[in-house]
């Protein structure tokens, strides 16, 4: 039996863009978050399931969630606890606000440096930004290898982890050592449901801020000395690092313009993975103002 793993699942609270109503966008073209229910990013749930399956197989393993967002994102940690996770950290601080994928990855990688997992699993991409950048960038910042588009962690023997990837033209099986960052594709197994006992155990789990702001939650306050019901909150000071790389100041991405576009035709361009093709593409995208 391999020794127990500490797995961290990166999860994001996102507006439910799958059920978009009339008020989904504001007049200025930004997302009207108030009109959309906040949900657990779907592919992050696929990631959580892969983590929980490893925990089921390797006795003593632990699964923790890491999420960044406003105070209400503590819901994501609770949701994870209900489904079988052991704990979680909420990164929340005004100084994290306005982060693009680069600043987000920086903040997450700082937090991971403190959490010290053996394995990080994330969803491929979030349904609000659809960038698929955060997982890979976190791996780069940690200088860890990465496996993207994972559909299933098929085995782990204590040394080698084997992963099936879902690609455009088929399936690829790869192996790696730990530590490792995996991003999970939506075709992976659906996440298990909330478990009633976990729900009853963890429904009063709160961050320190929530307890302070809601003294009327008598049950949660009555249980505040139970360690397992405390959701960890970290700010910039808790994760350390270069303050300039967090939040808005660490985010080179600027939104130039937002347009509603209905695709008239689908055009596909295939590139090889060599540097020349990639730099040609970047040049083209800069030229037509898609980036830059």
């Amino acid at each position: 039996m391999p020794k127990p793993l500490k797995i961290v699942v990166l999860a994001k609270q996102v507006p439910d863009t799958r059920n978009v109503g009339k008020n989904a966008m504001k007049e200025d073209g930004t997302v009207n978050r108030a009109a959309l229910p906040a949900i657990f990013n779907p592919e992050d749930l696929n990631a959580l399931e892969q983590a929980l399956r490893l925990k089921d197989k390797i006795a003593g393993s632990e699964v923790h969630l890491l999420t960044m967002g406003p105070g209400r994102a503590a819901d994501i940690i609770r949701e994870g606890l209900f489904r079988g996770a052991d704990g979680g950290v909420l990164l929340t601080d005004r100084k994290f606000a306005g982060a693009d994928t680069l600043a987000t990855s920086y903040a997450l990688s700082r937090a991971l440096g403190r959490m010290k997992p053996d394995l990080v699993i994330a969803g491929r991409q979030a349904i609000d930004g659809d960038t698929a950048q955060v997982g890979p960038q976190v791996a780069e910042k940690l200088s860890w290898p990465q496996v993207t588009y994972a559909e299933e962690v098929t085995s782990y023997d204590g040394k080698e982890i084997v992963i099936k990837r879902r690609l455009e033209h088929g399936v690829e099986t790869v192996s790696s050592t730990l530590p490792l960052v995996i991003t999970v594709h939506g075709s992976a197994a659906e996440c298990r449901p909330r478990n009633a006992k976990n729900l009853m155990k963890y429904k009063h789990a709160r961050t320190a801020t929530e307890l302070q702001e809601h003294p009327e939650e008598t049950h949660a306050n009555a249980l505040k000395d139970k360690d397992y019901l405390r959701i960890t909150e970290w700010g910039v000071a808790d994760v350390g690092g270069d303050e300039q790389q967090f939040g808005l100041s660490g985010s080179p991405t600027k939104v130039k313009k937002i347009e509603n576009i209905v695709f008239a035709a689908k055009e596909v361009k295939r590139l090889s993975a060599d540097d020349r093709d990639v730099s040609e593409l970047v040049k083209e995208l800069i030229a037509n103002h898609t980036i830059g």
């Binding site: 449901p193 729900l199 049950h219």
Partner: protein, 574 residues
């Protein structure tokens, strides 16, 4: 889709004022608080856990079970090498519910259960069946654990009960080829084997729902030479011990996902539950009451599904330039469907509350002596539950058939096709008036409530509850109906003839049921305006249904039976 949150009725019944008392009884001073990290702190915390757990089950019903239902109906289970293999969707349903940790819902925490009251447990049975009525049986058979908990030894409870929450399935093995409604005729033989110091079962069981379950409760003849119910005992069998083979599964009209098995027992080792000779007269009767409530819940689930599908179709289907719901013939049908649905649901949860109260007292009495008031309350609630359980089974199962029929009618030709889910509901509903005791046998069980006057007493109790001024006319109507019912009951009793009484029994039981459901809707309307319309529709309809029955009884002399008995002379043609 969430089959709990999309149905306001369920939350309404979960918030019934009596629930606070039920929770307090059930949680026995919240003594589990220090022992289990998932035990509640107080009444509000418990009710919140009921609500949130129903949300989990509602989500699974709406998104997993309902989506799998059509495939399960097509594929069905198979027998492979004497074992049952569920349809793929059935297995997924069971696995997901196991992962959700909701099996063993009503078992105490020391056996891995959630210690929930009957009300939320019955609600789960309702919404599971709304999604897939056939799967409702696999869900409902966890009732067997309840019987083990009530009657088996501590050792046996420790052995079997913790497995329920982890997904062990159950079956209750009663019926045999020559013992259906008449279970006294059960022949499966149980013999004590001195050598292995255990009971061995030999014989055949038929029509056993989920017959290849992990844990089986088997009714068998332990007293050699006996021929009646007093020679029967109850046994628990563990599939791991072998000795039972599935010979075949039935090809059925409906609930196709639920495997109905013929079983061969060959020296199957088993353990005696409770005392010898009490198998049928005590334990099966108790299990049967639970199962009847379960079929009641299953039927209400089918009613809900049938109503929703009809409402949806009637809004979408355009004929003669407008949606067909605009036509009086259609909106009348839908309105009556809704009134029946809400009435029978009110009856289902009233019954569940009665069961909750007396069972909680039963459990409490294991820890300490009950006070005289508590004992009185326990007895009263048990008596009410004994009357209301067959009443619920009778009405819910009949209404599920009526609503499925009407729903197909509203669908027109489309409803007759496999393209719409209502045809499945129509087939699934058909068994509900038959198994766990036919409607005719529910009448036999419920008529005692009529003849002893406890039904009348209950109507008068309901009548004492104050109602809003605008509802006075409904209470007045119910009081008139009660008087007519009392007169009809007296008239039948005055004839003092067993055959005459049996002949009219169903009419009297139905009259009582209509009045009781009318009162329940009226009382619900005091707590929420949502029910005013259904109360009005149901009570006015019920008045005419009862008038028809009363008129028939009033004109019916004992000699008139002869016209009906003439059929006994007709010989069937081979």
């Amino acid at each position: 889709m969430n089959f709990y949150t999309d149905n306001k009725d369920l939350k309404f019944h979960l918030q019934h004022p009596l629930m606070r008392k039920i929770v307090e009884l059930k949680e026995k001073g919240f003594a589990d608080r220090g022992k289990y990290d998932y035990a509640p702190l107080d009444v509000d915390d418990t009710l919140d856990s009921y609500d949130k757990t129903l949300e989990i089950v509602g989500d699974i019903c709406g998104n997993v079970l309902a989506a799998n239902a059509e495939g399960v109906d097509h594929e069905g289970p198979q027998v492979i090498d004497g074992r049952v293999k569920y349809a793929a969707g059935t297995q997924v349903n069971h696995d997901v519910l196991t992962q959700a940790g909701v099996y063993g819902m009503s078992l105490p925490r020391e056996y891995g259960g959630l210690n929930f009251s009957m009300v939320p447990y019955v609600m789960c049975a309702e919404i599971v069946s709304r999604a897939d009525a056939g799967f409702g049986n696999i869900w409902g058979l966890q009732d067997c654990a309840e019987t083990i908990h009530e009657f088996a030894s501590k050792e046996m409870k420790d052995e079997f009960l913790p497995r329920i929450n982890k997904g062990a399935t159950c079956s209750m093995d009663l019926t045999e080829p020559d013992a259906g409604s008449d279970l006294q005729a059960v022949m499966l033989k149980a013999t004590w084997d001195e050598k292995s110091q255990r009971w061995l079962l030999n014989g055949v069981k038929r029509f056993i729902t989920n017959g290849d379950a992990d844990i089986k409760l088997v009714l068998a003849r332990s007293e050699e030479g006996t021929t009646d119910g007093r020679g029967l005992s109850y046994f628990v069998y563990d599939k791991k011990d072998g000795g039972v083979r599935v010979r075949r599964i039935e090809n059925k009209l409906g609930i196709k996902g639920s495997p109905t098995c013929e079983l061969v027992f060959t020296n199957a080792p088993s353990k005696l539950v409770g005392d010898r000779k009490l198998g049928l007269i005590r334990y099966v009767m108790s299990l049967m009451n639970g199962a009847r409530l379960g079929v009641g819940a299953q039927s209400v689930g089918i009613c809900e599904m049938a109503y929703r599908e009809a409402l949806k179709y009637a809004n979408e289907r355009v004929q003669f330039g407008k949606a067909i719901i605009q036509f009086p013939a259609v909106f009348e049908m839908l309105t009556v469907m809704k009134a029946k649905l809400q009435a029978v649901r009110a009856l289902l949860y009233e019954t569940s509350r009665f069961v909750d109260v007396y069972k909680a007292y039963n459990l409490l009495s294991e820890d300490r002596k009950l006070t005289p008031e508590e004992r009185k309350e326990q007895k009263e609630h048990q008596k009410q539950a004994d009357f209301y359980t067959p009443l619920t089974k009778l009405f819910a199962s009949e209404y599920s058939n009526q609503l499925a029929y009407d729903s197909i009618q509203i669908h027109g030709g489309s409803g007759f096709m496999k393209d719409y889910p209502i045809e499945r509901a129509y087939r699934d509903a058909r068994i509900t008036t038959i198994y766990e005791g036919t409607s005719q046998l529910q009448v036999v069980a419920a008529i005692r409530g009529v003849s002893t006057g406890s039904a009348l007493a209950q109507m008068r109790r309901y009548a004492e509850t104050p109602v809003k001024p605008e509802h006075e006319y409904l209470r007045h109507a119910l009081e008139e109906m009660t008087a007519a019912y009392a007169a009809a009951t007296e008239q039948v009793a005055a004839v003092a003839d067993a055959e005459y009484t049996d002949f009219h029994a169903r009419r009297l039981v139905e009259m009582a049921g209509h009045i009781i459901m009318g009162y329940l809707l009226l009382l619900d309307a005091q707590r929420s305006d949502e029910y005013s319309r259904s109360a009005e529709v149901f009570i006015k309809r019920a008045k005419s249904w009862n008038a028809e029955r009363a008129a028939y009884i009033a004109d019916f002399k004992k000699e008139d039976l002869a016209a009906y008995k003439a059929v006994l002379e007709d010989k069937p043609v081979e």
